[in-house]
Structure formats: C-alpha cells, structure tokens
Amino acid sequence: MSVNFTQKHKHEMITFENVTKLYGKAKALNGINLDIQPGEFISIVGMSGAGKSTLMKLIIGEEQLDHGKVLIDGIDMSTVKSKDLPYLRRKIGIVFQDIKLLPKRTAFENVAFAMEVSGHRKDKIDKDVPKILELVGLLHKKNNFPHEMSGGEKQRVAIARSLAHRPVLLLADEPTGNLDEVNAAEVLELLLKINELGTTVILATHASDLVNKINKRVITIEAGQITLEQATKGKYKL
C-alpha cells in the first residue's frame, strides 16, 4: 500500500474545495465548499438529482471531479491511483438504499464476505463477525438468509458489513429509503450509535422528519450547490 489512510487526524476528515462535477454539460455539483470534522454526524439533504449521490461518489473515488479539490483524511483524491482505491475503500463504509446483500449468503457470510475480500484469515473472521453482528443487534439472526429478514434487519446487516473493516468514515446513501417508519428509526438509531463509537457518519437523505429528529449538522444541496448550512440542531424543510 503506497498511501497511508490510517494516520491520526490532525485535519478535517473530508474537505471539498470549490468542487465542480460535470456530466456532459450538466453541472451535478457546482462550486461546493465543505469541511467535515472527524467524529462528526452530518446529514446531507436535498431532492433526488440535487447532487447528493455525486458527492458520495467523489468521496469513494468512484467519480473524478472536473474542478476543485477533494481531500479525504488529508489525502488529495486526485493523487490516489486507481490501484490504491480498494485500500481507501476499506477505510470507508458504504450503505445504500437498495441494501445490496448477497441473497444466497447468510447474515454471517455477508459480513464475512467483506473481510474475505481484503484477505483476513478465517479465525479472525470467525472472531470479528459475531462482534459486529452483536453491535447491530442481529447476532441471533447470523444464520438467516436475507429473505428471512425484515427490511430494517437487512439494512442493519448491510451496515454491519460496512463496519467489517472498522472504517473511519461511514457513508449512508438513503439508507432508509425503502423502509417503513419503525425500521427507518431502527437504522437511524444504529447510525447514531456507530457515530458515538467514534466513526464519522455522512447521511444523505431526503427524509426531512428523520433529519429533524436527530439535531445534528445539516447541509442542504439544491441543483448542485449548497444553499443552506446549519451548524448544529439543523432542521430541514422542503
């Protein structure tokens, strides 16, 4: 590994400097400036197509920006080679609206899969996975397949999987989008708990009630630009 992603945080977790991302001629992001501190819980809100997902993709290096600069943990993303991206992604947990669990694998195997991919030994996997499942409150379902679980439980397994590498940063892109109120609340609670344990969490959503309940920093994006920034106890109104 040529890039050290595990250094202590003397600087912001994430810095966006005047970031612009174009899809053809359309500006998905237009001059975004944003600092996210280590340990922060930040909600990024906006309608679909406002640029939330593009912002997330820039953080994990899935997309290249057109102007400006993105720093992750002090590292300029434009200097990270594509062969080093996998190592960066092991420091970032990602959760999606469509959950993306492997249907033919149990909860345990789905979480273990993330650890297998990065070359962990079986004994370490057998030791760590139950702990992570316990953290998300699903140890009792470790041998269940995704179709045997509720939507909220599935999303919690996905969160467990994203935590398998002990990431410093957790990106949640509409994690409650497909869930009912009860399940959504469960997932949100889990995200807050993970944040309390020290992981920086970025939550992208358009569910205003969810954001308004938690009293954390809120960034509002509209048409690729930040239109409102509320430091703490942020509220979001459409």
Binding site: M1, S82, K83, P86, R90, L102, V117, S118, R161
Partner: protein, 328 residues
C-alpha cells in the same frame, strides 16, 4: 498488489465454484477447446509423419556404381577420392567385393539354395561398388551422367540410379497442403474457441455482477475480482488438454510402430540441410522415439504444448471479456 496465501486460496476456490455453477457453459467452452486442440494435434501428427516419410525417402536416394571385374581396389579408391573432390557430392562409400558378399549372405541367409549355389561358384561374383550421395537431390542427374561418361567407361560396369524425385515432390506437395490446411483450420477453430470462451466469461460476469459490485464497494483489489475468472478460464484449458490427450493416446502409443514402419533405423539428419532446422529437430526427435521406444515423455511434452496453446487462447478471451464488461 499484495496477495497472501489466504487470498490466493479464495481466488482459486471462487474460480472452481464458478466453473461448477455454470457447468453447462463451462462444458461448452471446454468442448470447443477440445475440438481446437484435437485438430491442431492431429494436423501436427500428420505433418510429422509425412515429413518423416519424405526425409526417409530422401535418404534412400543414392547412386551405386558397380565396377568391372578385375579393377583393383586401389583404382576404385582413387576414383573415390576423385569423386569426393566434387563439391556436389556429399559422401562416397566404398563397398569391397568381400563386404558385398557378406551383406548378400546376410540378406539371403534364409535362402539355402541361393547360398549353396554361391558356395559352388567358389569365386566371389560380386563387383566392387561405390555408393554416392549428393548434397541435394537436384545434383543426382549430373552425377549420374558423369559416371556413365567415357571417362569411366573402362572401369565402371553399371550405374544404378533410382530416381525417387517424383515421389518426393509429390510428398512435399502433400506436406505443403497439410501445413496450409492445418494453419487455416487451426486459426478458424482458435477464433471459435476465443468467441465461445468470451461469451462464457461474459455470462459469468453477468451472473456475478451483484457480487462484483459489492466486492468493489467493500474494497476488493482488481486482481481479487479478476482472479476467479482467470482461474475459471484455466480450468477450461486444463480439462480440454487432459481430454484431448486421452483421446489421442491410441495414436500416440502406436507412433513408434508407425515410424519404425517408415524408416526402421531412424533417419540421419546430417543429410537434410535444405529441409530446415526445425524439421531436422523433429526428425532427430522421432529417431529417438524409434530407437528408444519411449513414448511417455512425448505424451507429456505434447500435453504441455497443448496446455500452453489452450491457456493462451482462454486467457486472451477472458482478458478481452473482462476489459469490456468488468469495470475494475
């Protein structure tokens, strides 16, 4: 890229799992590979056998000059030295009347009547002989004419030249046909193999697109994602090589007899400069088979060659499919 043994094992295992999950596709890919290898190997064998025949016939071409009775050995040897100075002649062998008689007795050792009448004759009726080999086949007619000329009329009784050049020319034509036909057929089937494997791997990528996507998101390296596909392609190659070799074993086991039949004592390569180094190598190799009778090593070598070709084909098409459909 850091790959430890655990990761390596996981890549291999995933490759095997993929092979079994799409067993019908895998079998189709392996089958087309088998057809390609069988065509390639049989054409190669046909080439080798025909080439060996040509070589052995070429070797049998020579000119024998039979001397008149009463010509002394020293006279014959002087002519031998003279001929050896001719730069179209490669070698001249002297067979004395005594040697000729001994050979004759050996050849006809079963024919009591003939040997009895030979004994009754008392004297050795056989003449001294010079056996002449030319450097190239084209030189023979000139040598033939020279030996029959006035210059040697006093000493040489008879010149025996069997012109096998027509047969050789015909065999060479067959050889050329085998090479062209073989190359064309092999290229066609190699392309079919590449296409089938390309499609198989594409379908495997499609079947596993969810898994691949998740792998990327949880930080799998590109080689971790690609590895199983390459393993799968290698399994096609190995399976095809083994099956092809088993199918060819009946022919391969009989090769020593076939070569023995063509040329009982093997062939002497020093004589065939104009047939190319590779041919000389092949013939030398066959001579070894004929004289030693060891065929196992040759089967292993053939297998190895097939495996290399099969791997080259499958890895190429897999790489192409991955480049197109696997965004890593």
């Amino acid at each position: 890229m850091t790959i430890n043994t655990v990761t390596f094992y996981r890549i291999i295992r995933t490759g095997f799992v993929n092979f079994w999950r799409n067993i019908w596709l895998s079998m189709a890919a392996s089958s087309v590979m088998i057809v390609t290898l069988i065509i390639l190997s049989s054409l190669m064998l046909m080439f080798v056998i025909t080439n060996y025949s040509v070589t052995s016939i070429r070797e049998r071409v020579d000119i024998s000059a039979y001397f008149k009775v009463g010509v002394t050995e020293s006279q014959v040897l002087r002519i031998k030295t003279e001929l050896e100075r001719n730069n179209t002649i490669k070698e001249v062998a002297y067979i004395s009347p005594a040697d000729a008689l001994k050979d004759f007795r050996d050849v006809h050792s079963n024919d009591e009547n003939l040997l009895d009448s030979l004994d009754e004759l008392g004297d050795n009726p056989l003449p001294a002989t010079l056996q002449i080999k030319a450097k190239t086949l084209e030189d023979y007619p000139a040598i033939d004419t020279e030996l029959q000329s006035e210059k040697y009329a006093d000493v040489i009784d008879k010149v025996n030249f069997q012109d096998n050049r027509l047969v050789i020319e015909r065999l060479n034509k067959i050889l050329r046909f085998i090479v062209i036909f073989g190359v064309v057929l092999t290229v066609i089937f190699a392309l079919i193999a590449i296409l089938v494997i390309f499609n198989t791997i594409t379908l495997t990528i499609f079947n596993r697109r969810e898994e691949v996507e998740i792998m990327r998101l949880v930080g799998a390296t590109n080689w971790y994602i690609r590895g199983p596909f390459l393993v799968e392609a290698s399994i096609y190659s190995i399976a095809a090589t083994i099956i092809t070799t088993i199918a060819l074993i009946p022919i391969l086991m009989n090769l020593p007899e076939i070569f023995q039949y063509i040329a009982p004592n093997g062939v002497n390569n020093s004589f065939f400069g104009n047939n190319g180094f590779a041919t000389a190598l092949v013939n030398d190799y066959i001579s070894n088979i004929v004289t030693s009778g060891h065929i196992t090593l040759n089967i292993i070598l053939l297998m190895f060659g097939q495996l290399i070709i099969a791997l080259a084909l499958s890895v190429t098409s897999t790489m192409l499919a991955m480049r197109k459909y696997l965004k890593v």
